[in-house]
Symmetry: D2
C-alpha cells in the first residue's frame, strides 16, 4: 500500500463500540479516511455523519463493501453477523478488523480464517486490552525475563454492573461474553497456550441471570503448557467500579497492574483516608487502548506486517470459553483438546 495515500475505511455497526471507533477514525487517526458507515439505526447515525462529515451511510453492508474507495472495514455489528460480514469483506478484498468474538461457532471461525487467509487480507480481532499501557508493561516484564520464569498469574476482571437481562440471554454466557477478554489477556501476558481449564461459579449478583441460564460470578483456573498456573476471577457487579487487575509472579520477581485512578487525590479526615474510584467502565478505562488497537491495525496494513492480534488469537479464547462451560457443568478440569 502506498503510505502517502489515506486508507479508506468503512464501519459496519454503530453501537457503543462502533461509535467509539468512528470517533477515533474521524478525529485521531490522520492516516485514514472514513468513507462510509453501515448501520440499521437510521436516526442515530444521522447525528454521527453530521458531526464527523461522513460522506456515505447505508443500511446494506454489501453496498459498503462494493465501494472501491474502501480498503478496510471495521466489523462492530452484533456477534451473530461477524462471520457473514467478515467473510464477505475478505472476499471483497478488504482488510478486516472484527470485534470479539469472531463467532460462537468454532467451525464458522475456522471457515472465516481460511477465507481470510485465501484472500490475503489483514484480519485483526478487537482484543483492545492488549494495547493498555499497563498490561503492555506486564507483558514486557514477562517476555523480557524481568520476572524470570513465570509461575503464577492472577487476573481480576469485574464489571461495575451487570448488562440488561435481554443482553445476557443472547450473550453466549459469561465465559464467551466477559471472560473471553481475560482468556485473551492470559494467553497474551504469558505468551503460551493453555492446556486445561477448571471453572467454578454461581449466581450471586442477580437471580434473573440464573434464570437466563447464566452465572454472574466465577473463578477459573488455567494450566499452561509451560506449567504456569493462572486464575481469573469475574463478577458482573463490583460496586466500587470496573476492576481490571493483573499479577504475574515468577522466579525473579512479580509484576502487578493496579486500577488507574480517575484522579490522584486522597482526602484524609477523621475517619481515615479516601481515594477516588477507578474509571467507570471499559470505554473510559480503555479509551487509549481502543485507539491504539486501530492505529496498530492500520500500521500493519501500511507496513505489510502481520496484525498484532491474529485470527488464531480470536479463536483460542472461544475454545477456552467452551472448555470453561464444560468444566462448570461437569465440575472437573477440562482439557482444551476435549473441545
Amino acid at each position: 500500500m502506498n503510505k502517502s495515500s489515506k486508507i479508506g475505511v468503512g464501519v459496519i455497526g454503530a453501537g457503543r463500540i462502533g461509535r467509539l471507533h468512528i470517533e477515533h477514525l474521524a478525529q485521531s487517526i490522520p492516516e485514514v479516511e472514513l468513507i462510509a458507515i453501515c448501520s440499521l439505526d437510521a436516526v442515530g447515525i444521522e447525528s454521527l455523519t453530521k458531526q464527523f462529515n461522513i460522506p456515505k451511510t447505508t443500511i446494506d453492508y454489501t453496498a459498503l463493501l462494493a465501494d472501491p474507495r474502501i480498503d478496510a472495514v471495521l466489523v462492530a455489528s452484533s456477534t451473530d453477523t461477524h462471520v457473514e460480514i467478515s467473510q464477505a469483506a475478505a472476499k471483497a478484498g478488504k482488510h478486516v478488523f472484527c470485534e470479539k468474538p469472531i463467532s460462537l461457532d468454532l467451525e464458522q471461525i475456522d471457515e472465516t480464517l481460511a477465507i481470510v487467509e485465501k484472500a490475503g487480507v489483514k484480519f485483526q480481532v478487537g482484543f483492545n486490552r492488549r494495547f493498555d499501557a499497563s498490561f503492555a508493561r506486564i507483558r514486557e516484564a514477562v517476555a523480557s525475563g524481568e520476572i524470570g520464569e513465570p509461575h503464577i498469574m492472577r487476573i481480576t476482571s469485574r464489571d461495575p454492573s451487570p448488562p440488561p437481562i435481554e443482553y445476557v440471554k443472547v450473550s453466549g454466557g459469561i465465559f464467551l461474553d466477559m471472560t473471553i477478554h481475560d482468556f485473551d489477556m492470559a494467553r497474551y501476558l504469558i505468551g503460551d497456550e493453555v492446556v486445561e481449564v477448571y471453572a467454578i461459579g454461581g449466581v450471586r449478583v442477580d437471580p434473573k441471570i440464573g434464570e437466563a441460564g447464566d452465572i454472574d460470578t466465577t473463578v477459573i483456573t488455567l494450566r499452561f503448557q509451560n506449567e504456569v498456573i493462572a486464575t481469573i476471577d469475574n463478577s458482573r457487579e463490583a460496586v466500587y467500579g470496573y476492576d481490571q487487575r493483573v499479577e504475574v509472579f515468577g522466579s525473579k520477581g512479580m509484576v502487578t497492574a493496579a486500577n488507574p485512578p480517575t484522579n490522584t487525590v486522597t482526602f484524609s479526615g477523621s475517619e481515615g483516608s479516601h481515594a477516588a474510584s477507578p474509571p467507570y467502565f471499559f470505554v473510559e478505562r480503555y479509551k487509549a487502548a481502543f485507539l491504539s488497537e486501530l492505529q496498530a491495525f492500520f500500521a500493519c496494513i501500511q507496513e505489510g506486517t502481520p496484525p498484532p492480534v491474529t485470527g488464531e488469537d480470536g479463536k483460542a479464547p472461544v475454545v477456552m470459553g467452551f472448555a470453561a462451560l464444560k468444566s462448570l457443568r461437569e465440575n472437573r478440569p477440562v482439557l482444551l483438546s476435549e473441545i
Copy 2:
C-alpha cells in the same frame, strides 16, 4: 481462676517458635509466670534460662507436667510429639496451647480433642495470623456486613525461600505444612465451612523438592457452604520477600490487605520510584500476632471463656490439606466429606 494470681506456665520445645513464645512470656505478658522449659537442646536452653531467669529446665516433659505450679503449657515441640504431649498435659489438668498442626493423623486429632474436652481444660491452636491487625480488620469487614455478602476471596501466601530439603521430607507436604495456615485463614475470614477443594500445582522452585515427593507452587480453589469461592496461591520462594495478602470481594465492596512495609520511604530517581521490601519472614511479619495469640490464650484462662482458636479449628485445615493432596493426585475437585 483467681485473676490476681499469676498463671504458671511451662514451655515444651525451644526451637524458633518456642523461643519466640519464651521471649514473649518473659517480657511482655505480666499476668504469667514462666516456671519451666522443656527442651532436648541442653546447650541452647542454657542461655535462654539465664537471659530470662527461668527457674527450671528439663529434658523430660512429664517432669514439667508434674509441677503443680504450672497451670498451662505451650506445646512447641516437633509435630510428631504434639498429640502425646497435649494429651498428657490435658490429663494432668493443664491448659494447652498447641502449635499447628495438632497432628497429621485425623484419628489422633479426634482422640486428643476428646481427651481435652473430658479434662475440661482450654485448648488453643497456634494459628497466629488470625491475630494480625490487618487480617482482623478484614474479618471484621466480612462479619459486620461492611462488604455485604462475600462472593470471592483471594489469599496469596508465599515464603521468601524454601525450607531445607531435610525439613521438606518430614513436613507432611506443602498443604499440611504451609497452606494449612491459609486454610485456617480462609475459614476464619469467611466464617463458614469449606465443602470442596481443587488443587493444582507443580515443582517450579527447586527440583529437589520434587524429588522429596512434594511440590513448591500451588493454586487451590475452595468452595464454601455459603457459595463463596476462594483461591489460595502458594510458592515456596518469592524473591521479593514474604508475601501475605488477602482480598475479599462482596456485594457491597471489597477489602484488601497489603503487605506491610519495613519502612515507609520511597526513593524516586531517574529510573522510577522504589519502595522497601516487606518484613523478612513470619517471625518479623507476625511478631505482634504471636504475642496477641498468647495474650488471648491467657485471657480465656483467666476469664473462663472459650479459646479464640478451638480444637475444631485445628482439625479442619488438616482435613482440607488431605483433600487438597487428593485433588492434586486425582486432578479433580474433592469434597471434604470424602476425607
Copy 3:
C-alpha cells in the same frame, strides 16, 4: 453567538504550545472551525496545514485579524508579542485566549485588560493547570468546605530538566516563567488573595543559570488574606521527572494530589518494589487540561458567560512574581501592595 454555527478560530504562534492547541482545535473540538494560522516559521507550518487541512496561513497576524470569519484568536506567540496582538485582536472584536504571562509589564497588562473590557470580548489566560482533574478535585474540596477552613497549603512544582540557557536569559526569571503557574494555582485552590510573599533560593542545578542572572531552586512562602500559609517549592531539575503535587490542610481534613503514573505497574524483586515515573513534562501531564481549557473558552463564548480564568487572574501572578523577586533580593517578606 448562534450555537448552531461553528466558531471561527485563528491561532497566532505555532511553537510547542501553539501546535498543541492547533491539534486540539483540528481534532477534538467539533464546535470550532480552524480557519487560519499565523506563524513566522513557514516550513514548520506547512506540515501542520497539510496534516489538519487548515485553509489559510500567514506570517502577518493583522491579516489574520482582518478575516471576518474568525471569531476568536489563540495567542501563543512569544511573550513579548502578547500585549500587542491581544490588544489588536480585542479592537478587531475577536475573543482572545492568551498564553501566560500576558506581559511582564504591569502597566501594559492593565492597558490590555482595559481595551478588552471596552471591546466587550472574552479574554482568557492560559493557566491550564486549573483544568487538571486532580487539581480541580482539590479546589472542590476546599471550596465545598470538605476540609473545613484551609490552614496550610504546599505546592511542589519541579521540572524534569532546565530549559536552554538562551531561553533562561529571556524568560523573565524563574518566578515569572515557572512559578507563575504555581502562583495561579495557589490563588485558584484557596480562592483568596495573597498579601505577602517571602522567597528564598539559589543556584543548585546549573551555574550557567546563575551566570544568566537567574536562580534554579526556590522555596516561596505565601500569606493569604484569609490567613492561609502556603509554600511553593520549585526546581528546574527533578531527575525522577515532572513533579506536580499539591496538598491543602484544613480544620476538617487534608487533600493531597499525587503525580499520576504513566502506568500502574509495580515490579517487586529482591531489591524492593519499583514503580513507573510520572509523565515526562507538561505536554504529557496536562494534555487533557490543555484541551479542557480550550473547551471552556469556547463554551463561554457560546454561552455568553465569563471566562474561567480572567484578565485579573492573568495579572495577579505577575504581581506575585515581582514581589518574590524583590523578596529574594532584599531577603525579607514583601507585601504585594509594595509592587
Copy 4:
C-alpha cells in the same frame, strides 16, 4: 564498663514518657537493671513498682543519685528541673539521658554541657525520632549520596489534637515545645547546620491558644550552611491523626517518608476506596524509636563511644526555636547568630 555486668539505672520522673522508659527498661533491655524510680506521684508509682518489681522508689532525686548501684539516670521530669537534675547527676558520676529540651535557657544549657564534659559522663538528649526506621532510611539516603546533593527538604509535623491550655501556658511556646523535634530532625537528616530561620504562623485551631500567648499553626523556612532550603509545617490539630512526614529532594533523586498505616487494609466501595488512619500519637508512632534510643544510650555506655545525640544536638534546636520566635515577632528572616 564491664560488659558482662548489668548497668544500674534510675529513672527520675514518671509521667507519660517516664513510664514508657520504665516499661522498656523493665521488659526489653536485658543489659540494664532498673534499680530506682523517683517520682512525686506516690500513688501512680506504686502500681509501676509492683508491675515491674522495681526495688526502690523515692520522691527525692538526690537519694536516687546517691545510690552507688546506679550507673545511669534517665531524666524525664518536667523541663524546668532538667538542668538541676542533669547537673547533679553528672557531678555524681552518673551517665545522663535527658528528655528534650535540656532547658529553655541557653546559658543553663551551656553550663550543663560544661559540667557534663568535666564529669566525663555520657549525655544523650531524647530526640527519639532519629531512631525511627523510616527517618533513619532518609538520613542514610542523604548521607550516602543516594539522592546526590540535597537541595530542598520538607518536614510535615502535625499533632492529632492540641495539649491542654494549662500545658500550653508553660510549654515555652510551639517552637520550643513542638517544632523543636523538627528542628532536630532537620539538622539530623541534612547533617549540616542551619544559619537562618523565617517563621510565619497564627492561631487557627483554638483561640485559647492565642490568649495564652502562643500560636498553633506555623510554617518555618530554614536556610542551611550547605544551601539546602527546608520548610517545616506544624499544626496542633490534624483531625486525620498524627502526621509525621519528611521529603528530601536532591540532584540525583528524592526520598519521602510517609505515615505508617495502623493496618494495611483498603476498603473499596461505591464511594471510592478507604484506608486506615496513622497511629494515634507519638507513643504509638515512635514506640520502637523510644526503645531504640535507650538501647543506643546503653550501648554507648558499654562500648565507650559517643552518644548518638549529643549535648550540642540538644542545644541547637533551642537556638533555632528562639530564632523562630524572633522571626515571627519581627516578620523577617533571623540569623541564628543573632540569638
